[in-house]
Symmetry: C2
Subunit: 391 residues, 2 copies
């Protein structure tokens, strides 16, 4: 316990050193508005187009597609809605199973559930903090029956339709191996890029690897629309269907109200898109600031044998959405002591999410061996990561 | 057909007379921002609280509760989300049936469907344009088995849990008779007040009659938050659960991510609430303007025997969200001719929604006799109704 105190104190000292001493309360991740935000909002109000129609929504959709190296963007109310619709246009039906990491934010599982599908949890790898495609292959070899391109979970009898890699804290999943595994088993890849705007793998942006991807612009993300999300894809048919579904599936007509699918009221309001367009123009600057901050964290902890600051692996560029400290197994029991000392010092810090399979609401979902997930979940601490801290 | 042309021309002339001649394109309903909108948005941006936390959300919730004569408000991303969560906190479970008018906007049916429940369509009455409680009673007497306070649809075996009166175009449903019928059959009343902010029945605001009610602040509503909605109720337990569900059901903890129900990411962003607070301060003025406009429409069509401008019935105050013209049965076939002439003249006009049971997506849902719905659906035309047109 004395050792934990010493270690906690060391961590607090080094984090304070990175952040500067006169900070007061330091948030985990807060937005900053240094561009045209106020001008665009004023323009939006004066145009009276604040709701589901407007040129900021169209522009935001074009620009978010460009930023993710995709051809089409569909702006929606938040990342959960984006993922739900992405899964649906990828072909997920009620009672299908959706493969996803257990080590993710609740939105990934909720999006599948709200479609009537069942999350099926698989393990993550320490190399990426994301879904482990090699372990996924071994798991599917054990449980899956594939014929005519359709894969059934032999244990539950349900169809396995899609796999959802989630780029944790901005670090890209091994999408290339995952793409091979998905192809072997006829799975659609629905990329949960909620945390990964600006991250790249072998030069390609996160969001451009899946059949379709979901993004989030919640207030704690690298850019924000207040609340918001987007679906991005290269496939014009999927994009058009996503747009249709998110605007109540109303059939174009000079006046009649005909809806040909059961859709959603998920359109991002023009007001929120106005904020998003202004924010997106600052993305590159924010990425540089976040990289500078990450490098400072990496530097100060370089000599600590029990602490590893997670850094981008070869071939990847991370947006370093959150700076992630991984404790060695030897000191993992110090996690709560470190969290307490950091938070008491107004340096807002958080553990990783409770793994989905450990929550009672998802405890009965099918799952693979989750040894790495359970191990990582005990050893992660996320540190203050706002872009301005790297300015 | 010549007669239709003459009638259409007459309608166009009288509508132009109400709106003035030099209008150019006149929208069906557009917002106006004459209060503190720009100031509050600027303040919101400078505070950096644009997302799920912020004082505008708290203030909007208090003020929307006050405006509807209820004790608690929970602000959400839109009216559909409000209704879905209202149904859930009222106790609707997957596979339950939810009684609702067929003559409604798609959101009412979609909200039930997204919960996994089944819409059960009942008829409306010409007196209110809303659900007919007397006809509902007759229907339930035919199909329902009630024991120990639980009502089962004898034809489908499913539980009938809730009834959703929707105040069409701002005109209050006969909530008093409906309350009696709901009590007889152990049904929860979930009020769809999306269109009825500011309307009253016997001095009580719409939104205060149900166990819980849903509101909408879409761009076409009497006040707007860009996109948004709210749940209002007098019941502190229902309100607290609605708030919990709409904020991912995260359990308060100094750092752990535990979610104890499968919730939603439905919280209204502070940015949208900032707009809402400014708009709500103008509600009374907008109501007066809309009333003045409605009276002008009523006046100019008073002498037309084949046209009735729908006006508030005894004991009610309507917000006149949309001005509704009802054609006599003798001239109902003129509807499309009138719609064409009005829209061609840039006077945006719309029929009522396609009744839900006529849409293929809901054609197989259980339903009562819907003779009045089908008749009304052929005879309604909504006319330009923005508050500023009555200024």
């Amino acid at each position: 316990m004395n050792d934990y105190k010493a270690l906690s104190h060391l961590v607090k000292t080094k984090v304070s050193q990175v952040l500067g001493t006169s900070q007061g309360h330091v948030a985990l991740h807060e937005p900053e508005f240094l561009g045209a935000e106020e001008d665009f909002l004023r323009d939006c109000i004066r145009s009276t187009f604040v709701s589901s129609v407007g040129h900021y929504v169209d522009r935001f959709e074009e620009e978010i597609a460009r930023a993710t190296g995709t051809k089409h963007g569909v702006a929606v109310v938040n990342g959960t809605a984006a993922l739900e619709v992405a899964l649906r246009v990828a072909g997920v039906q009620p009672n299908d199973e959706v493969l996803m990491p257990s080590l993710t934010f609740i939105a990934t599982a909720n999006a599948a559930h709200h479609l009537g599908a069942v999350p099926h949890f698989v393990d993550s790898e320490e190399r990426t903090l994301g879904l482990d495609p090699n372990k996924l292959r071994l798991h599917l070899n054990n449980i899956a029956d594939t014929s005519s391109g359709i894969t059934i979970n032999g244990h539950t009898g349900r169809r396995l339709t899609a796999v959802v890699p989630m780029h944790a804290f901005g670090h890209p999943v091994d999408m290339e191996t995952l793409g091979d595994v998905a192809a072997e088993f006829g799975l659609k890849v629905v990329e949960d890029a909620a945390e990964a705007l600006g991250s790249k793998l072998n030069g390609r942006p996160c969001g451009s690897f899946g059949h379709v991807a979901a993004l989030s612009f919640n207030g704690n993300k690298i850019i924000t629309t207040g609340g918001g999300g987007a679906i991005v894809t290269d496939d014009p048919t999927l994009a058009a269907r996503a747009k249709h579904l998110t605007t109540t599936s109303k059939v174009p007509h000079k006046w009649a109200f005909i809806h040909d699918e059961i859709g959603y009221n998920y359109r991002m309001p023009n007001l929120n898109a106005a904020l998003g367009v202004a924010q997106l123009a600052q993305l590159e600057k924010k990425l540089l600031q976040k990289r500078a901050l990450a490098n400072r964290y990496i530097d100060v902890f370089r000599e600590c044998s029990d602490i590893q600051m997670f850094s981008e692996r070869e071939g990847t560029i991370s947006n370093y959405w959150l700076n992630t400290m991984i404790l060695s197994s030897a000191v993992s029991s110090a996690r709560d002591s470190i969290l307490s000392m950091l938070n008491d010092a107004q340096l807002m810090s958080r553990p990783v999410w409770e793994p989905m399979h450990k929550l009672q609401i998802y405890a009965n979902c099918p799952r693979a061996d989750l040894a790495v997930t359970e191990d990582l979940a005990r050893r992660i601490i996320n540190l203050p990561s706002s872009a301005k801290l790297g300015a």
